[in-house]
């Protein structure tokens, strides 16, 4: 058997899966942000006539996935798997959205790294010849995340300066074995690094070592330099985490400059009062399925390293004094 691997952690696709279509739905705040025009649908408010925020998030994800499918021109019977995930307990947003789609479902939990994880797994399913087309859908919602992870939304409190704002948004992409579009050529599955950060308001700092570790291993596995990429983009490190990841990489002998950015830094501007930037699975999924894919299709970017970053804690583990385990999954997309 020919093994499609390189080095420690990287898979290299023989027949690179194609990103056939994508669709994004976001909340009003994301729509007002600097990437507002790159999203396919902007909701007027975070509830959009649904009875609860949970229902709204699930609807949002459902619309993103249906949007990606209808845009591709494929029928449901031609899609072999649905890979979906979100931030809520028992993946309710993904499961309830999948209830409406009726596709064979693999639920994924990678916290905020779920889009990158989904792309990697979808690539393996397709290149492993287990599927022809695979749909990936990922969502998060500011208000559902707040009430699960933090405080009731109307409770008066002061957010820390290093805290990030959970993005309300859902992004979906359809991958296939053949067709036109950007291709996924390799993926590096990350491992958990926990450097002892316990502050849930500072998740960028908790995830930065894992992201740096994945980038380091990715470059080593494929014998590449950061300059081989037009853009290296992490999921939701935010301003603090991005700075730390760059510092760690520099100390480890990898110098990255302006080509290393972060979806959480890109999605809001400073005037939106979100402190360190955006976070949540929705953050990297809508920035990837919106802005980054557009630029890959337009030829602005030739090769992008998309590194989803996840903080794999729960409110319970934090109350019990555990530190926050971080993870990073990297995917190479070529235009």
């Amino acid at each position: 058997m020919k093994v499609k691997r390189a080095g420690n952690q990287t898979v290299v696709f023989a027949d690179s899966p194609v990103i056939l279509s994508s669709y994004t739905v976001v909340g009003p705040m994301e729509g007002r942000g600097p990437l507002g025009k790159t999203f396919d649908q902007v909701w007027p408010d975070t509830l959009n006539k649904e009875k609860s925020w949970e229902k709204a998030e699930s609807k949002m994800l459902q619309e993103a996935m249906q949007g990606a499918v209808s845009r591709s021109g494929f029928g449901k019977e031609q899609i072999d798997f649905l890979l979906a995930g979100d931030l809520l307990n028992q993946l309710i947003s993904a499961n309830f959205a999948a209830r409406q789609l009726g596709l064979p479902l693999i639920g994924l939990y990678g916290a905020c790294s779920t889009m990158a994880l989904g792309l990697a797994v979808a690539g393996m399913l397709i290149d492993g010849q287990f599927a022809r087309q695979v749909l990936v859908g990922v969502s998060s919602h500011h208000d559902t995340a707040e009430r699960q992870y933090r405080m009731p939304t109307e409770h008066g409190n002061q957010r820390a300066i290093c805290a990030q704002w959970t993005v309300t948004g859902a992004g979906s992409v359809l991958l296939g074995s053949e067709g036109d579009g950007p291709r996924i050529t390799a993926a590096t599955i990350g491992r958990i690094l926990d450097f002892g950060e316990k502050d849930t308001n500072n998740m960028g700092a908790a995830m930065a070592p894992a992201v740096a570790d994945t980038i380091l291993n990715h470059l080593k596995d494929l014998n590449r330099q950061p300059s081989d990429y037009d853009l290296i983009v992490s999921g939701d490190l935010g301003k603090v985490g991005l700075r730390l990841a760059k510092e760690i990489l520099l100390k480890s002998g990898v110098a990255v400059g302006e080509e290393f950015s972060d979806c959480g830094v890109m999605i809001y501007d400073a005037a939106q009062d979100v402190h360190a930037g955006g976070s949540g699975c929705g953050c990297s999924s809508v920035v990837f399925a919106g802005d980054i894919l557009r630029k890959l299709r337009a030829g602005t970017f030739k090769r992008v390293l998309f590194v989803g970053s996840g903080a794999l804690h729960s409110p319970i583990s934090c109350f019990q004094g555990e530190s926050i385990p971080g993870i990073g999954h990297a995917v190479v997309i070529e235009g």
């Binding site: 939304t153 760690i248 480890s252």
Partner: protein, 156 residues
């Protein structure tokens, strides 16, 4: 912290070094600005309550009645502004200035009531009404019982 025996290559930073780096990279809270806001808003709430006490006194209530009535009004306004979605916006800037007065206590009970009503009247609102205020009540009541006991034995 879990097992960190990672297969090389790994990042050339130890957790000890990282906590130093992280501390340096993490921005500090804007203390002076926060304190000015807290002083201003907290002061305004208390001044407003004091004016009401004076007005109620003027209207003929006793000192105790006037302060109880003013407290009730501040609680009502805290709850009202929470319901209108304004109180969290005030507290975002004013911090302790909006949390410490009794209107902040009203906010800490009304916010979960609003939040969890979708999970049902009993299993949602009823069960989770005191998620924020609960610890304050538990330790507040426990402390007052202890203080009462001390007072009783000292003054017997």
């Amino acid at each position: 912290m879990g097992n960190q025996n990672l297969r090389p290559p790994t990042i050339a930073v130890t957790p000890e070094e990282y906590s130093q780096m992280s501390m340096k990279a993490t921005p500090k809270p804007t203390m002076v600005k926060n304190m000015i806001w807290a002083f201003g808003v907290g002061g305004l709430i208390c001044a407003f309550a004091q004016i009401m006490i004076n007005v109620f006194r003027h209207m003929g209530l006793s000192a105790k009645e006037a302060s109880s009535t003013a407290t009730a009004v501040v609680i009502f306004l805290g709850a009202l502004f929470t319901g209108l979605g304004v109180y969290d916006e005030i507290a975002k800037r004013a911090g302790a200035g909006a949390i410490v007065p009794v209107s902040g206590f009203a906010n800490s009970i009304v916010a979960p009531a609003l939040e969890f009503k979708r999970e049902g009247f009993v299993t949602g609102m009823g069960a989770r009404l005191f998620t924020v205020a609960g610890p304050v009540l538990v330790f507040g009541i426990a402390t007052s019982i202890a203080a009462g006991c001390v007072y009783y034995f000292l003054h017997r």
